[in-house]
């Protein structure tokens, strides 16, 4: 997918575990793992907001556009 979620990078920067973030934002570890692996279908603004508050970051720190092979050719 062209949108990559850098949740693992931000967690490492803040020295926070996924379980700790899960308890803070009220989203299950399973859902955060799916998000971390960029396997989710969509992300709610409320989720993004909660993660940004917990990790003291901007949405741009979490989401990144990396064009895949077909998009690079365009």
């Amino acid at each position: 997918m062209a949108i990559v979620v850098n949740l693992d990078v931000m967690l490492a920067k803040r020295k926070m575990q996924l379980k700790e973030l899960s308890e803070t934002v009220g989203i299950s570890v399973v859902n955060l793992s799916i998000l971390k692996q960029s396997k989710g279908k969509a992300i709610r603004f409320s989720t993004l907001n909660a993660i940004c508050v917990a990790l003291h970051c901007q949405p741009g720190d979490l989401l990144e556009f990396v064009p895949d092979e077909t998009q690079k050719r365009l």
Partner: protein, 168 residues
């Protein structure tokens, strides 16, 4: 209505028994005609809650049960998907009655109501190609060779619940 169902069934069975007894003149034949399907129903109701009896319901010899199998692919890994589907079940109308983490299998049931004795959903997760997972869902009736499209609706409901849960 749900609480009146056992009463209505009892009355119907008694009336049918009397009718058969009257027409055949033999009460043992009439009893036997009832005992066979009632026994099958009772056995199915007991066995439906355990994954180990999966083969009983999914066997091709179980012609008296309607089965519908469907498969979908997911990009989520097998282990994570096993946990995810358990979460999906909790937020849906299905009831998770049994699971096996080793074989990545789940057993979901639907509740009985006036129209149905309930259905089972057997879910099996397998590893697919290129880090994907294959989810095989088999919906089966507990009693009856025709589900009145309930098997298909159950699968659709489960699949939609899963897709919706991917919006995090």
């Amino acid at each position: 209505m749900k609480h009146k169902l056992p009463f209505l069934i009892s009355i119907s069975c008694f009336l049918l028994y009397k009718l058969l007894q009257y027409s055949t003149g033999n009460r043992y034949i009439a009893l036997l005609v009832f005992l066979i399907p009632i026994t099958v129903l009772l056995i199915n109701m007991i066995l439906r809650k355990k994954l180990r009896y999966k083969s009983w319901f999914l066997s091709k010899h179980s012609f008296f049960l309607e089965k519908k199998s469907s498969t979908f692919t997911s990009a989520i890994s097998k282990e994570l998907l096993f946990q995810k589907l358990q979460e999906v079940t909790k937020s849906s109308s299905f009831r998770l009655v049994d699971s096996n983490s080793k074989s990545s299998e789940l057993l979901l049931t639907t509740a009985a109501n006036f129209w149905t004795w309930g259905e089972n959903l057997y879910i099996e997760i397998k590893e697919g190609e290129k880090e994907t997972s294959l989810v095989n869902v088999t919906a089966v009736t507990i009693y009856g060779s025709y589900s009145w499209n309930r098997n298909h609706k159950n699968y659709q409901h489960f699949y939609e619940s899963f897709q919706q849960s991917l919006t995090i």
